[in-house]
Structure formats: C-alpha cells, structure tokens
Amino acid sequence: MASNFKLLAGKTAVITGCNRGIGKAILESYAVNGASVFACVRKESPAFLKLIQQLSEKNSVSIVPVYFDSRNHEELKLAVQKIKDSKQKVDVLVNNSGIGYNALFQMSPHDKLKDVFDVNFIAPFIFTQYLTKLMVRQKSGSIITISSTAALDANDGKSVYGASKAALICMTKVIASELKSFGIRANSIAPGMTDTDMLSCLPEELISKVRNQNGQNKIAKPSEIADAALFLASDLSTHITGQVIRVDGGVK
C-alpha cells in the first residue's frame, strides 16, 4: 500500500517466518511504516541479513533477527527470552510461519498430520503464550495470526492444513475474548491462494481453477495480505478484535 503516513511509528512488532512470501511482505510493510521489528526466521542466511539491513537503513528502523526452529520448543523459549531481554514493548505479534500440505484425507499420513500441527498450531500457540505475558503486563497488544481460507472452506486435499489453520482461528478468537480486559486484540487473516512458494505443493489445475473463480482473475500478491496485517497492527483497527478477515479477491 502506498502511504505517506507511518502507521506503525513507535511500535515494535514480532513477526515469524519473514524471510519469504507473506511474512517477508509484512516485514517490508511494517518497516516502511516505521515499526521496529524482531524478525523471526528458522536460520540465518546472507540473503535475509541483506534484506533486513537494507530495510533497516532505508526506513531508519531497528530490525533484529531472531533465529529459532519452531519445532524446537527450547529454541523458541530462548527466542522469547531474547525479545524480553531487549526491554522493548511488544505492540504487535504476527504469527505467520507455517508449512503447506496438500493430500486427500484418506492419504494423509499421521506423522505428516503431527508435523503440520506442530508448526502451524502448536508453535504459535506456545510462542503466543509467552509473548502475551509481556502484553498482559503492558496492558496492550495486537496479535495477528495468518490462517487461510482453507480453514473456512472445505477444500479437497486440505483436511490437515485446513484443520491446523482452523485451530489457529479458534485460538485467536479465544485469546481475543480472554485477554480483552488487558487491552489485547487478536485477529486472524485468512488469505486465499497467494503467490508464494507454498503454491508449489498445489496442482497446477487447482491454481488455474482458483484464478478463474476469482472475480479479479488473479491470485493474491503477498503485499495484498500484508496490507491487511498492517491495518490490524495499526491504530486504525483499535476496535476490531476476534475477527477473521478473508483476503481472497472474492473467490466463489
């Protein structure tokens, strides 16, 4: 979104999975809008370090890399400790990291079911548990979970992935209810098909079908999902909580 305003000036955000796709677009959007960011990724890479250095310099914001494998709960805890040790307020948490998976219900192996839930639901659940303790103390915060329209629509091949993202929506709504008295908001974004690496796990005919069903005859750009995440992080959405925003171009 082109903007002359810095919608997140003075805010600090934690974003998971921001080295590519939707997470990277959110990182870019937040930096452009003046947020300091703890940029969480699985491991260090020259491309990621270059990205955050450029974004930081161009926008005069602090971007601190935080590395952890979300399957490793000890690493996850150390990451939280690093954020906590910075003594910065955490105004925004974006739970973005996740893995895609596409298989028919009767052909979905149990180990894959467990792995997808570990990454897409259990890790953000634990991470949010830790970080909401900081938000409870400061009596403010906006939590954004990146779910999927697969959580809302019964798409073939999405029993595992869609269920993990539906769990995330449920968690988000419960957080919104339980923590509202602490000034904490929680909302989900449900992107439709988006032009990221995750498309590689989908058959080409499905991608074409969705494109054709979409009134705009296109699939989403990651920046279009980031626009919704910017809105929910900003003070433009202070009275919005417990909601799921579909960003799917109006797929029927």
Partner: protein, 78 residues
Amino acid sequence: MSNKEKYIQVFINSFAVKEKDLVTLKYQGVGTWDSMGHMRMIAELEETFNVMIEMEDILDFNSYAKGIDIVKKYGIEL
C-alpha cells in the same frame, strides 16, 4: 529492596492485599486472585525477577507460600 520484599510487593500490587494476610493467601482466596489476576501476577513476577516461569509452575502456583518454592527453583534467593 531484597528479593523477599520484591516478592511481597508483587502480591500487594497484583491483589491489593495487606502484607499481614499474605502468609495464608491462596489462589481464589480473595476476589482479586482469580485466573486473570493470576496471569497478571505471573507477568509481574517474571518482570521483577527476569525469569520465564514454566507452564507447569504457573498451574502449581496456588498460594503465596507455594510461590516462594517455585520462584526459588529459578535461582532467586528469597
């Protein structure tokens, strides 16, 4: 301020109770120590002592006295 004094202060701040009543204070023993108050107190303790209290300990933390044992587990002398 000693660590014990800090611990006491967290309880006074979180639950609006008097120091003389702390020794026998239990979870849900006063209206302010409900589940929300519990979360607020844990967050305050973590900040005061710069620790991250494990979920099992958050659930076991059912009295002022029990809390002393739990906080000690994190290397805090009380």
